[in-house]
Symmetry: C3
Subunit: 491 residues, 3 copies
């Protein structure tokens, strides 16, 4: 390995390809990932789905559900065979300032990406300690000091660029405490083995009346109701119990019990906070320290002793937006950052990972196939051209893509991304805690690893042509515009 890296380093000087040093890191990282693959193998277990995909589409949301203080859009696996094949669905939430997404849980694990804005998020894990205290702004006066502080579980600041993992069956809520809409897109992994039910997702709210929309009445409401019901499979868990039982259970009066059921609530699943809201959480920078603590706890080699690895202490989020954390950087092409079980261990548990990519004007991603995962790409910004090829002679997808679209690249299908002159940014969710790719071109490619004479005979080409295939692209993963197309551009 060491001598090999030196060799690559030598090539860096030799060919003066830009971005070469940063790409050496990628090579080492890829090797590390193979290291982990044996563990990752345990994480590839999914339900089998039907995959007779000849043609892939760039998908817009199928459903749109308005609430008092926000909007929920759903990519529905029942409407799109690409999603059905990958065994996933997706949701985009837009929460207005002072909007609260009601507490809910689902039967499948999720992975979120915060597209814009900031807010706070709470994950409610039964059995973990109530380690946070909030000083209620008015409580002290009212209560006379007996219980001046509210105790609850850890809550997290979230902001643009954050990736958040949510295990199946764990309740969570989110609140927009910023000035601009808080928008996030989340992948629901229906085929994940954590889901013991069928390949539908079920969202179960702990509050509100998620099936009702804000403005009352009429045929439109009923239609909305029906569509939401079908799309989100959502209900308030308390509404199915009778209020007498709930009053008994909580030891409260029947009126309060009825409030749990939210029968007359017309606000929908995202409500405007009217009552005082003083929940606070440590400032964002504090989390860096938390992460360092976690890493210290794990020791230097990243291994865990199993004892401290509890969901209560698991870090559930990590920011992937910061350019300085890129795993691959090519000043001529762009950059790629990866989150997997190695830098966010909970991803090994939910068996999902994420990749954030930025291509500059005319930049290219090396053609590659996903070895052990489906890849679900959400376009964050800009536009570009994607080509996806499976095992037929025709491409499954060859089209321009733009902000807000979702594209499924099934396992083993090969994909090329090319930015337009506006550049292209995306987040990819992958259905494996340690997703692996195999590149078809560039310094880490399959072609590079095959003996010249196998290439010569496979493609019926000369030794010189074989060498040009192997060595004309010294970059890794992210390519600058080809010198050929540069020539054309200049011509």
């Amino acid at each position: 390995m060491a001598s090999h890296s030196l060799h690559s380093l030598a090539l860096c000087f030799l060919f003066l390809s830009h971005g070469c040093f940063s790409q050496l890191l990628e090579q080492q990282q890829q090797q590390l990932r193979w290291h982990e693959l044996r563990g990752a193998q345990q994480h590839r277990l999914r339900a089998k789905t039907d995959c007779q995909i000849q043609r892939i589409n760039a998908l817009e949301p199928d459903h749109r559900i308005e609430a008092e203080a926000g909007l929920t859009e759903i990519w529905d696996q029942n409407n799109n065979e690409e999603l059905q094949c990958a065994g996933v669905a997706a949701v985009r939430h837009q929460i207005q300032p002072r909007g609260l997404l009601l507490p809910s849980y689902t039967n499948v694990p999720q992975i979120y990406y915060v597209i814009q804005g900031r807010g706070i998020q709470g994950t409610v894990i039964s059995g973990c300690a109530e380690t946070f205290e909030s000083v209620s702004q008015t409580g002290g006066g009212r209560e006379g000091g007996q219980r001046p502080r509210d105790r609850h579980q850890k809550i997290r600041q979230i902001r643009q660029g954050d990736v958040i993992a949510l295990p199946a069956g764990v309740a969570h809520w989110a609140y927009n405490n910023g000035e601009t809409p808080l928008v996030f897109v989340s992948l629901l992994d229906l085929a994940n083995d954590a889901n013991q039910l069928d390949l539908n997702f079920r969202k179960i709210y702990l509050a509100g009346n998620p099936l009702r929309r804000p403005q009352g009445g009429g045929r439109h409401e009923q239609e909305q109701h029906r569509r939401h019901s079908q799309a989100e499979n959502a209900g308030n868990v308390f509404s199915g119990f009778d209020d007498q039982t709930l009053a008994d259970i909580f030891n409260v009066d029947t009126e309060t019990a009825r409030r749990l059921q939210g029968q007359d609530d017309r606000r929908g699943n995202i409500v405007r906070v009217e009552r005082e809201f003083g929940v606070i959480s440590p400032q964002y920078q504090g989390e860096e320290e938390e992460r360092e603590r976690e890493e210290r706890r794990r020791g230097n080699n990243g291994t865990t002793n199993g004892l401290e690895e509890t969901l209560c202490t698991f870090r559930l989020k990590e920011n992937i937006g910061d350019p300085s954390k890129a795993d691959v950087y090519n000043p001529r092409g762009g950059r790629v950052s990866t989150l997997n079980s190695q830098n966010l261990p909970v991803l090994g548990w939910v068996r999902l990972s994420a990749e954030r990519g930025v291509l500059y004007r005319d930049g290219l991603m090396a053609p590659l196939w996903n070895i052990n995962a489906h890849s679900i790409i959400y376009i964050l910004q800009g536009s570009g051209r994607l080509q996806i090829v499976g095992n037929s002679d025709n491409s499954a997808f060859d089209n321009h893509v733009r902000e807000g679209q979702l594209i499924v690249v099934p396992q083993n299908f090969a994909v090329i991304k090319k930015a337009s002159d506006q550049g292209l940014e995306w987040i990819s969710f992958k259905t494996n805690g340690n997703a692996m790719t195999s590149q078809l071109a560039g310094r880490l490619s399959a072609i590079r690893n095959i003996p010249e004479e196998v290439l010569m005979n496979s493609y019926d080409i000369s030794r010189d042509e074989a060498r040009s295939l192997k060595y004309n692209r010294e970059e890794v993963t992210v390519f600058g515009p080809g010198s050929r197309s540069q020539r054309e551009r200049e011509a």
Copy 2:
């Protein structure tokens, strides 16, 4: 954690809620379970099944098969969509005194609970040593001392309250050496990953003619035959081979080979022991020592070194009936005991666990949902009311349940149990070696872990009401009758 427990302890004194101390244990245990969840994750892998369940039923057995010395009743997954969704079936065996359940194996793992009686049970694991010797009562005289003792594998005493795990493909038999019927109920986990066949169970006997019923002849027999065949999918493995080959294989005469096939056997799958039966096993109390030995072997922290963890030495059973071993105890409400991979490691392997619950008169179980498992409840004694709610606004089940009924609570559905004035006892089988629940009320509940102000805005209630939701029930898991209903009762 320590300070949190102290805090809870303080609350115990403050609110004088009964059963408080014992419930602190539950809190710590729940945290321990989250500890294990990462490992448990590997145990959640199942086939996906169809789950369009709107209405759940309390199930009685679908088939009833009489044999010479006992009765077999079957809950058939093909007849009940609840069972189909959970990917399970269930069987209840009633073995009369001196009855022998013939050796058989199935393609799916099972977990048994002994409802009443006592007996001995043998598990036949290829490759493990024949570590037990039986002195045959008459053998010494007959054989002239050449082989005075019979060697065979370990056998186990079983008695009421025992839970027994049976890996897939492992043969076993059971004998009632008591004075009363030996009755046990077993869950067959069809969707378990250990089953590489389809979602049916197949029972393969090593003896007898399980498809024939005791009394000869007529249409009734044929019908019985057909029903058993459909219900148990059962055959004698030797009957499909020809007797010449069997004679060759065993190096015995053809007549003995034919006995293996049991062609003329009319006794069914549970036979009356007519020939001498001197099989003995160590006394029951001896097993406690075995367990302690096992625990010593594993060291103090419960971890295993992998080398001694063989199926040959695995403890396959544990008694869950003893009130002193309860994990949660509330003198006003009842008690709950749990068996999972932490106190019976083989359960991590078969990916099943069990919970035994006892509710006193009018006692309540906190509403909760199963995070990572289906729960299949078998009512052992008494009666009560169960409410089960999924993701629609209506309850999936709201009914009285009684002894002998089986109720499926699908993953993520919420359930409330309330005892009648006779009390309620049950055994729950769960489709995960480390089944986790999330409670909706009480000291370990989701509601308790959510900040007051999120509750206030979610339910549109005052701070005082939010606090009453969070703090009016200090109990955990098992609740006494609400003071409200007590008041009503007194009124």
Copy 3:
């Protein structure tokens, strides 16, 4: 254990059964396998398939695809319900001398057995170092010394008797550098959890035009094309991209890019090497050292520290043909060799294992069932009679089998193999990295492990008869012809 082995040893002397000593090893090995079962449990995770199998057939290939320098035959899961139940397909490649099987990858793991001939094989794993150098025979002169040697990944010599594991999504190629055809049969494990697509296999070539056959034109070619397309689901990944993009990506001229797509290539998936082919690899004996190095790295106890266990250094092949490595040997009956995750760790990762068996004239394999795997038997040589029994009273298969046939034995079905007077040789592929069997007769059998009195009452036989069932066959796994049939033969 020690005393038990001594006991067995004593029996060896007592009964003078041939092959006794070598069989003691098998007993210990079986116990070791149970040791590993807990780990193996993680390897049993598969998609559920439909298994309403009443009758099993000995299968010949369904498709036959000719190429310039070889022949590909396919057992198609869509044509055979046995294969569908087991979730597998199979392929046999025959490569002529100087034939090159073009580089390709599939969406499922494979396990190969080399039936005859020898060659070299390359596995292309993204991210692993290019650790091999080839001196190109003519390159030095042409290039003027700048890059005299070709660098590429490790390549392997393969020869008759080798078993090779191929993880899903990993590209590979093979070349026949011998004088005789190189023939191998490979099992494709469609239901393996590494496959996140549906239960079809997709083969994706990196070169050529696999759908075209050598000789041009006409209706026959179209038919061939269609059949291959259906059977192999095969395409050239580059053909779906446009040549301009490929030229950009590889930074080569459009003509070379077009060669990647192989549009006018009529050679099929196995091509004749016309251009110089100087790829060399270390001599075969060198691999023994490699293996020893690997074992040293792992320490004495066979455990791995996880850090060095990377796919880059994984040993992917092992020879199973050498009689001296047999796990069970009975000079009267034959021998059996097993490869599983314990002697070829990558098999734990791909969750497949293999067994090679040789029965001498009239030899028998003990009746047994596969506890945790399907077994797919390919007959290598000779002929014999197989009996397979499931959970019905009739046999699912009772027929003569011969060279080149494939027979599926589903999980938990019992099987007896008996050689004809030509003897019988086979390779079995099993769908578990640690496949376990349970034998019905012989020294390690279920019958032997059951107390005499259970047998007496189960079969309604005398104590003497029970003892003859338990002790008349002291052999393990491989039996010589029964003394009964010997008597008959002599008569």
